[in-house]
Amino acid sequence: MTDDVCRREADVRKGGWSDELRAHIDTCPDCSAAAWMVKFAAMPDREHMLPDPSVVWLKAQLLRNTAVAERVTRPMTTVQMSAYLVIAACWAAVMTWKWDVLSRWIHRLTPGAFVIGTSTDAATAQFSITFLVALVILASLTIMVALHTILAEE
């Protein structure tokens, strides 16, 4: 099938067509396609200004540096995301653990109770030391991770 390509195609590609070759091109589909490609390739399009090589080089270096920076910071980003997930899970666990006490304490949070100071008394009476320590640790960890994110972005 592919051996049917006209033998004169090579001459057509070379250019400088004789009258006889032109007549052949008009009748031969292979050579007409080849001739058209020759004309198409010769069509001027080089008035177009290409980017300067030094600009391309510089951009490539910048892109390479950005890619390196992304690669270096990827583990840090993963650790950060994991820390957020762990802290969120810890908060959920702590809330579930003492939900009954917490919901009772929240219902007692009224402006009146704040004025006479019973809300804090009730809280200290109902929350165990372990729970309060866990709350303080979790809050500190949350602030630390948040500060780390903010400072890293800056």
Binding site: T2, V5, T27, F40, A41, E47, H48, P51, P53
Partner: protein, 161 residues
């Protein structure tokens, strides 16, 4: 590759690569974009080959892949006017170029790449196969079909009898 060698390599190959991408995509802005991307990828890969011919083949393969990616991404937009002629081109030249570009754009991207690489770049079948990600044995058949399709198009448009 150091900057001096890159500059020499760029000056030797950027023009023909731009023409190739432009004839493939029909848009000078996209050709600019893909040309730069091709060189960025080329520099990032930093192929350790001393021979400039190998580097050139690598560059054309990268550009072909980028052009095919571009066609896949813009598949939905197909059917819109594809050929964009640059400003500053004379009317007759622009008309001729427009007609030729439109004719070429009617071929499939792979057919365009095949015909350009074979007829203009005069690449070997093995290099075309590498650039297009096909088997070397298939190039002959694919090229035959592409040529046949172009001949049919030219006949349909009355460009040849």
């Amino acid at each position: 590759m150091d900057e001096a060698r890159f500059e020499a390599f760029y000056r030797a190959n950027a023009g023909s690569l731009w023409s190739y991408i432009y004839r493939m995509t029909g848009d000078p802005a996209i050709a600019d974009d893909l040309l730069q991307k091709s060189f960025f990828r080329f520099l990032r890969a930093n192929p350790q080959v001393a021979n400039d011919d190998h580097l050139r083949r690598y560059l054309f393969r990268t550009a072909t892949n980028l052009a095919f990616d571009h066609f896949r991404e813009t598949k939905r937009e197909r059917g819109r006017e594809m050929v964009i002629i640059e400003e500053g081109t004379s009317r007759d030249t622009a008309d001729l170029r427009h007609d030729m570009m439109r004719t070429f754009a009617e071929l499939k991207p792979r057919e365009r790449a095949l015909l350009w690489l074979a007829h203009v770049e005069e690449s070997e079948h093995v290099d075309i196969a590498e650039a297009l990600g096909v088997k070397t044995k298939s190039v002959k058949v694919l090229l035959f079909r592409a040529r046949k399709r172009l001949a049919e198009l030219l006949r349909k448009k009355g460009i040849v009898s």
